[in-house]
């Protein structure tokens, strides 16, 4: 089922949570709403679910206006960050809840309920826990029960609010992959909220980057990561070094340092000059012992962390800003740099955004 929201506006007192948000989620898609806290992503999800009402704007399910339809009749599955399991019910009863509360005429028989619950328990790989209480489960297990409970009512849309937010890193990873597989199997239209860029980029078919109640960019993970439309998206997705300087004649002035722009950046700047923000991803920077003229800048090594798949080097640029560089271990061994040494940093790629003042 496709979900579409048009021009949603929502205010809480003086705070504007959403200012005119429009979005279309296609049938079977898995979409991530990515943003910092306060960006409006959770409010958007809750409005889609019907748990919150927009001040203006409309919600359409399958092209039909659902704005006035109550939560109960929207047929959405909602998964909460803190599981919201019923503590006084067993895992089995939690999952059966949505079936048991149906009006008598539509309520399945005991046997049908039991069968459906066990199917779902198998789906979430927890059938051995049916008679346990939520307090006896781990966080990851609880969230899987919550998901099974939401799926029990055969929702047309699945909405997940920071579904892995309360779990530790290892379990997050596992559940992420598991959810991806589950979605590929069920193909249910799904929207999930996250502040974790890795989670959004790994899981989603499309990522919606939100900021201050607005959508900054919608696109596939590749699109938003490699072709961010503005400084916010670039800054938000992945680690980045940010330098403020001036652009003149296709060159960036950072303090006394003058850096030549690559051809792609020159094109994006298009001969303009002015104050600019220069973004460089740590893994797209190289360290050299020799200068490459205007294509590199001088910096001093401050700290090195060689634990992990990449060596993280912290430097201080000539003009005083800190610079983060990620090298592979091989290159690091060849360079044999040490803290205090003076080296040259050469950007393989950077992005320039001229301030709109």
């Amino acid at each position: 089922m496709s979900v579409e929201v048009r021009n949603l506006v929502k205010k809480f007192g003086d705070f504007t949570a959403l200012s005119g948000v429009s979005l279309r989620v296609e049938t079977g898609e898995l979409v991530a709403l990515l943003g910092l806290s306060g960006s409006g992503k959770t409010t958007l999800l809750r409005i889609i679910a019907g748990l919150e009402t927009a001040d203006s704007g409309a919600v359409h399910f399958y092209g039909a206006d659902a704005t006035a339809i109550s939560v109960r009749e929207r047929k959405v599955g909602f998964v909460f960050q803190h599981y919201a399991l019923f503590r006084h019910m067993t895992v089995f009863e939690n999952i059966a809840f949505g079936l048991r509360v149906r009006p008598r005429a539509h309520r399945p028989s005991q046997a049908e309920i039991a069968q459906r619950v066990h199917e779902l328990l198998k789906l979430v790989q927890l059938d051995f826990l049916a008679s346990r209480y939520p307090s006896q489960l781990s966080g990851g297990q609880r969230q899987r029960v919550a998901l099974a409970r939401a799926l029990a009512v055969e929702p047309k849309v699945l909405l997940l609010d920071e579904p892995f937010g309360a779990l530790d890193a290892k379990v997050r990873q596992e559940l992420r992959r598991w959810l991806k597989r589950l979605h590929q199997e069920l193909r249910i239209t799904s929207v999930f909220v996250t502040h974790d860029q890795d989670e959004a980029l790994e899981l989603a078919d499309r990522v919606v980057v939100m900021n201050a109640g607005k959508i900054e960019q919608i696109g596939t993970p590749e699109e938003v990561y490699h072709h961010p439309v503005n400084a916010f998206v670039y800054n938000f997705l992945g680690n980045v070094n940010l330098f403020h300087g001036r652009i003149e004649n296709g060159k960036v002035h950072l303090g006394d340092t003058i850096l030549e722009l690559g051809s792609a950046e020159r094109q994006s700047v298009n001969g303009a000059s002015g104050n600019a923000a220069l973004y460089m991803r740590p893994h797209l920077l190289e360290i050299d012992r020799t200068s490459r003229g205007g294509k590199s800048f001088r910096a001093t090594v401050r700290a090195i962390n060689a634990a992990g798949p990449q060596v993280k080097v912290e430097l201080e640029a000539d003009w005083g800003d800190p610079v983060q560089v990620e090298l592979d271990h091989e290159r690091y061994r060849d360079l044999a740099i040490e803290p205090g040494e003076s080296v040259f940093v050469c950007p393989r790629q950077s992005r320039v955004f001229i301030y709109q003042i």
Binding site: L51, V71, R72, V76, G77, H82, F86, F97, V101, R102
Partner: protein
């Protein structure tokens, strides 16, 4: 020893336990045991004739009946008040919250006199009820009203913290799963708060049994009709019949002990069933 390894912020298990036992002995166990001792002197026949006399039996019925009824009404009113205080943000919520405790602090005789004045046939509320044929002051209804007054705060204060911890997300979850409000209440909210309501009920009931000051003014104290057991005890004491007084007290003591124990077991059972 396990106790020694169990480090705690406040040192001195021995000291804490000693104080607890000493206080329980001096203020609770010794006074209560004198009731048993005193009664034991009077012999079985005398005891039985005192506690089964029509006037005493009537007083027991009124005391237990009115306390029970009041505690049930307390549970409902107290739950609603706790709900209003925890679930809604409104101007004056803090003041309302403070007013809930007033019956705890008010001397009960003051409460009794005030209630009597208001519910008397010429009183503020009594004059409105009188044309409807409802009489509150100097009837059993009056006793129940006074006991409700002193009992409600117990329920509010036991249910309130539990409601505060009950995540509103649970109700939202039930709603997205298609549950109506009534079903959400019956199957999600009620099971979570039943143990605390039972505790509040037990406290209000126990308080009602022992309540004296506020009741004697509004009840009118007519023998066989509106006389409560605590008053009868005072009457016996004033006639220097200490043994009769302790005999009446002993029955109240044993009965309330049994009832409170039963409520406690019930509460523990519900708490365990719901695995809280």
């Amino acid at each position: 020893m396990a106790l020694k390894q169990n480090r705690s912020i406040l040192p001195g298990f021995g000291l804490a336990m000693g104080i607890t036992v000493a206080y329980l002995s001096v203020l609770v166990l010794i006074p209560l045991s004198t009731i048993f001792l005193n009664t034991a002197h009077m012999g079985w026949h005398h005891f039985w004739s005192v506690v089964t006399s029509p006037r005493v039996e009537a007083a027991y019925r009124i005391s237990f009946g009115a306390s029970f009824l009041a505690a049930i009404i307390d549970s409902m009113l107290g739950f609603i008040a706790a709900w209003a205080l925890t679930r809604y943000r409104f101007i004056g919520a803090g003041i309302l919250d403070a007013i809930v405790d007033l019956p705890f602090a008010l001397p009960t005789s003051v409460a009794g006199i005030t209630l009597t004045a208001i519910f008397a046939n010429n009183g503020l509320i009594g004059s409105l009820l009188a044309p409807l044929g409802i009489r509150v002051a100097f009837t059993r209804l009056g006793i129940v009203v006074a006991l409700i007054f002193v009992g409600v705060p117990f329920v509010v204060r036991t249910v309130q913290p539990v409601l505060q911890e009950l995540d509103p997300e649970l109700e939202e979850a039930a709603e997205t799963l298609g549950a109506t409000r009534a079903r959400t209440f019956a199957r999600v909210i009620l099971p979570a708060i039943v143990p605390s309501v039972l505790t509040g009920f037990a406290l209000a009931f126990a308080r009602g049994l022992g309540e004296y000051g506020s009741v004697i003014f509004i009840s009118g104290n007519m023998p066989l009709r509106t006389e409560i057991a605590p008053l009868l005890i005072v009457i016996e004491l004033e006639q220097f019949d200490y043994r009769a007084a302790t005999a009446i007290a002993l029955v109240v003591l044993l009965a309330s002990f049994v009832i409170l124990l039963a409520i406690n077991l019930l509460q523990r059972w519900t708490a365990r069933t719901y695995a809280l």
